[in-house]
Symmetry: C2
């Protein structure tokens, strides 16, 4: 049986229709989790899912599961998911694309009258962004047992509203008991520049980088820039500059997609003619391998000790976030790569620099991701954009990989193809 | 004739009495120029000067000249000066010491009944600090012709009050026509750490460093710290860190008291997991020689060009302050050194990293300075402090150097020694 290809126009139209909910004047989306805007987005997804013949259930943290039944009642669901919530000034694709691509895959199966052995779940995870309630990836985190349900429900926003209260208010506190997944796929815009710059359509995501985040305070001594000779200064900014160079050196010399960033720096007293006595800065180290990440941290600490001595400053380093690297399930990654190849799309292996719901899900189920390029690598911004052809290509790869897991059941009676016709053209 | 030594107790008591005017709770002084507090300080100085037998006159920018007459009507005055205004949170010694040391020198001459051929002026310059009205060193700048009187009088504070209005309000807009000076001496706390750290009592000031101040903006590109590989980043903070190291390298390898400081740095967007796309920073280069300073600037520009290329950023460098180096009059510098040596004080040649009134005066008259140590090198701060013995030593050096220029006239009848007795013990 040939795998059908998705209806790209219908997918794009769904994305644009969904983006009207919470649309911002600059063309972005503001759909903060568990707000009325989020509810409207969830309601639209639920309506579309039901129109596609799916049964929608909601669990206690508000994760939505739209199920297309399979022929084998014992088979674990093959899931496709992502999130519908956005950053405060977010774009139309981050998260929404993964859910709509899942919906389009089901619509395409409907169009082709294809039934599968395993059920197919399209999942919208609650609060991936973490903008209103921390932690990020809350829904998938509860699903994967990373956070307890109680802990998640107790979190509050800046106005003191809890997740529990917000879920009740929008009517999305459900009672479904989520099932163990047989496989999980997530399509997402890359949120980085690699695919665009290498003119590649599909990113075959091997896993996500582990992250170790630090706060560093360097203490020297304020001194007047004029009267203080160079050799007796305790210049915290000179020390901080050495740290920036060392972080860069570490990230460019270690293997396994090593990255290192100093994103934040505060200089005190920050006066033109005063040698800075204190600098507070952040350090973000990432790598795809735990051992490499540990070696990078050790190299950072060794460099810091030398800098303390050479620059006559004292350093206080505190680790504030530790997030281990994730490796996606090799069989599913292979299946994504094969799907891209068989469809004739340019593709390359890539790692996700950021975390996604798939990272948490991968702790309890085989998981993989499909990346598509986004314009300028820009995300978490109202100008976030992606090309319709790339969006279509990613959904085609997703569909093919999902079908490989859910197994088209050619012995089963073909379903009524007209089911989803109201929402798009059929191929008949 | 032996040169007398000053009355250290009297000098210290005058400093402490003056410091009561504008005293802050933390032991400092807030005596902003041309305020009522400044007027009170000026009034006290004028009263003390008259009690010491001096004639007080005021010029159009408010500079005060307290004159002790000499025996030769044709001789140009030998002046001792500094300023009575303070920083908003200033100390008891910055400026005040120079004026009180001058007053103490005259009191000591009175005690000894010593008359001089040249008159001796003790000068309090208006608005050295520049905290309320810019530019700094306003009074000595007008005296030296660096600024026009009109320009200075038109400057306004943050409330829109002009220098002219403020001078009138406190009654210190005078009409005296300042005379050309035969020599000018200024005693000052070092405002730096060299004397204290080298356990030296007297700094023989060779001149003041030239200064060239720059604003630098480095523009790269914001990028997410996770998804962006190291080799395609345009990290403005990495570039800025290279600049800091280059400024340090230049300042530590060039001669003539070269100094280089990056005191201010602002990182954008300054977010932990975003590669910074822009950094704004300041660069302060100093040296005692103009040619060296020019070579330092050339080295900076060459380094910047390389950094732009290596880090894929663009740099915009703007010079915002240019202040040429000053060399004090060699004969007066020698006389300060000889005075320190003959008095048995430890001494060393030193350059002033900051500008002082003497720097402007040196453009129109032979000038020199005497530095004494201050605790921790700290100034422009309420905790500014100096040791009484050092304060006394500086005044003794000043007196000896002044007498060498003003020439004690042993043929003249000795003056009445009791004149200043009301203000301190006499040595009789």
């Amino acid at each position: 049986m040939d795998t059908p290809t998705v209806n790209g126009e219908r997918l794009w139209r769904s994305l644009m229709d969904l983006a009207r909910i919470g649309a911002t004047p600059k063309g972005g989306v503001r759909r903060l989790t568990l707000t009325e805007t989020d509810r409207d987005g969830r309601d639209l997804f639920a309506r579309w899912a039901r129109e596609a013949g799916m049964a929608v259930s909601v669990d206690a943290i508000g994760n939505m599961y739209a199920r297309r039944a399979g022929t084998d009642p014992a088979a674990a669901p093959v899931a496709i998911g992502s999130h519908l919530d956005s950053q405060p000034s977010g774009g139309k694709f981050d998260g929404a694309y993964g859910v709509m691509a899942g919906l389009e895959a089901v619509r395409t199966l409907n169009d082709g009258g294809i039934v599968t052995r395993a059920p197919i779940d399209v999942i919208a995870w609650t609060n991936e962004e973490g903008s209103r309630f921390v932690p990020t990836m809350m829904g998938s985190g509860v699903f994967a047992g990373v956070h307890s349900l109680e802990h998640a429900l107790e979190q509050t926003d800046v106005d003191g509203v809890s997740v529990r209260t917000a879920l009740d208010a929008i009517g999305y506190a459900g009672t479904a008991q989520p099932k163990a997944l047989g496989a999980y796929f997530e399509a997402h815009i890359e949120q980085g520049p690699v695919l665009e710059q290498t003119r590649t359509t599909i990113g075959v995501v091997l896993g996500a980088l582990g992250q170790r985040w630090f706060d560093l305070t360097l203490s020297g001594q304020d001194a007047h820039a004029g009267p203080t000779p160079m050799d007796i200064r305790k210049d915290a900014l000179l020390a901080a500059s050495h740290v920036v160079l060392e972080v860069n050196r570490i990230a460019t010399t270690f293997p396994d997609y090593a990255r290192g960033t100093v994103g934040q720096m505060l200089v005190r007293p920050n006066s033109r003619n005063v040698v800075p006595g204190e600098v507070r800065m952040t350090i973000d180290l990432r790598s795809a391998k735990n051992d490499t990440l540990a070696a990078m941290v050790a190299a950072l600490k060794a460099a810091l000790a030398a800098i303390e001595n050479d620059c006559r400053v004292s350093a206080e380093l505190n680790e504030v976030v530790t997030f281990p690297p994730s490796e996606f399930a090799p069989a599913l990654v292979d299946s994504v790569r094969e799907a891209a190849a068989s469809l004739g799309y340019s593709h390359r292996d890539i790692v996700s620099g950021a975390a996604h719901d798939a990272v948490y899900v991968s702790r309890v189920a085989p998981a993989a991701m499909v990346f598509v390029p986004c314009e300028g690598g820009i995300s978490h911004n109202e100008i976030e954009n992606a090309a319709p052809d790339d969006v279509t290509a990613g959904a085609n790869v997703l569909l093919r990989a999902v079908l490989a897991q859910a197994q088209a059941d050619v012995s089963a009676p073909r379903k009524n193809k007209a089911r989803a016709a109201c929402c798009g053209r059929t191929d008949e």
